[in-house]
């Protein structure tokens, strides 16, 4: 009994070490909220303990864990209305760096991401940051491979649009010389 317990803890620990950072980044980019992201990562591992029997051997483990991660987030928002997560200023993920311009661009990209509709933001994050193949994303979202590619392309188009808009806004504010001008008003994004 003891060995079984210890073994499971140890092995789940290995999984935690491997997946906590990717999952945390998935949530952080999706919600812009670090505290919530850490909570959700914990929830994912609790669910792995609880629902390990639903894992179908032979299916990729990574896809399964992301399935759990998506469900955990949906359940969280079912219980808690989203009202704090989408203010970019609440948790800017980018710390100022020496490369001021890069840092500014990164921050603007993050804002642009958070301003996109959730579906598009999610598919961009899955394909760009989570190292999931399009086939895996298709399985995860329950749609065709072609649909995934189309949706990714549309998401890129929208990201570009929002990002360039933010950028021209910032440039205009900068050239107006208004030091105290607010950068970009945080905009709420519905689901």
């Amino acid at each position: 009994m003891l060995q079984v317990r210890d073994g499971a803890g140890e092995t789940l620990g290995v999984l935690f070490d491997r997946y906590q950072t990717p999952l945390y980044n998935f949530y952080a980019k999706l919600t812009g909220d670090r505290t919530l992201s850490e909570d959700l990562v914990q929830e994912v591992f609790l669910r792995i303990l609880k629902y390990s029997r639903s894992y179908q051997p032979g299916t990729p483990f990574r896809a399964w864990i992301y399935q759990i991660a998506r469900n955990a987030r949906v359940d969280h928002y079912r219980k808690t209305p989203k009202h704090i997560s989408f203010e970019p200023e609440m948790a800017p993920p980018v710390k100022p760096k020496d490369e001021a311009q890069e840092s500014q661009e990164a921050e603007m990209l993050h804002r642009a991401l958070l301003q996109m509709p959730e579906e598009k933001r999610e598919i961009l994050i899955l394909s760009r940051f989570q190292e999931l193949k399009y086939e895996e994303i298709a399985r995860l979202l329950g749609c065709e491979l072609g649909t995934v590619k189309t949706r990714i392309h549309r998401a890129i188009q929208e990201l570009r649009h929002v990002f360039r808009q933010l950028e021209s806004g910032a440039t205009a504010a900068g050239s107006a010389g208004a030091a105290s001008a607010p950068a970009i008003p945080p905009r709420r994004v519905g689901s």
Partner: protein
Amino acid sequence: MNMSCEQIGELLPDYLQGSLSGAKKSMVEAHLAECADCKDEVAVWQKLALLPVEQPSAESRLRFEAMLHAYQEGRSDRGKAHFERERSVHEPARPGSTWSLWQWLRTPVGAVAWSAALLLIGLFAGNFYGARTTHEPTASNQDQIAQMELELRNTRQLVVLSMLQQQSASERLQGVSYSQREQQLDPQVTTALLHTLRYDGSVDVRLAALGALSNHSAQPQVRRGVLDALQEQQSPLVQVALIDQLVEWRDREAAQQLKNFEQKPDLNPAVKQRAAWAVSKLN
């Protein structure tokens, strides 16, 4: 041939993942050289690399361990309470709901409460019908412990199965060695180990899988799997290990197949010799 932005759009996701080659790749690149909009889409996609990979706080690991501990002790509700307390520092309180009541009823404490409630109903009903009701106060606890043991066992299997799929050979090796902690191999783990024995890219992992299976010769599936693996094995090292295993199991049924195996034209001479020795041993 000039392609429209729409046509390029269909190819762009594959281009961005680097999975386009040849003519299609050249077409996309030719289009990008001419079309500022599409080129800018690629540029924005590439800029996403500027977003940093963030590290979770050190507290995260501790919370995980606390949760695991609480779960293993059969007090996952306490673990949950711990999370909620942590969370409440940062967030306003959440409204209660029937859902959270349902969640609570699913926790061990909730289950005990349920059991107690059912027991009371049972007692009441028993008295009502004039029958004597006996009950075991610890029965529900024992059920829970058994249930939890089962869940942890399943978790271990799950971890083994997932580790056997990992990219790195050392992680797959670790997976094989975890599997050896169970006295009885789960059928799914057996299948996965046999698959590893047959198809894993690393000789070390294949040999480890054979080691893990060696104590389970009582399962006909294992004996058959080892024999099958021998037919497809290319590495002389693994071939010899498989032959030795069959001899160790005194698997007489293997003799005929070993004889056929020995006749294979391009067999390594040392393996051939070993197979001949094995056939003489088994006959």
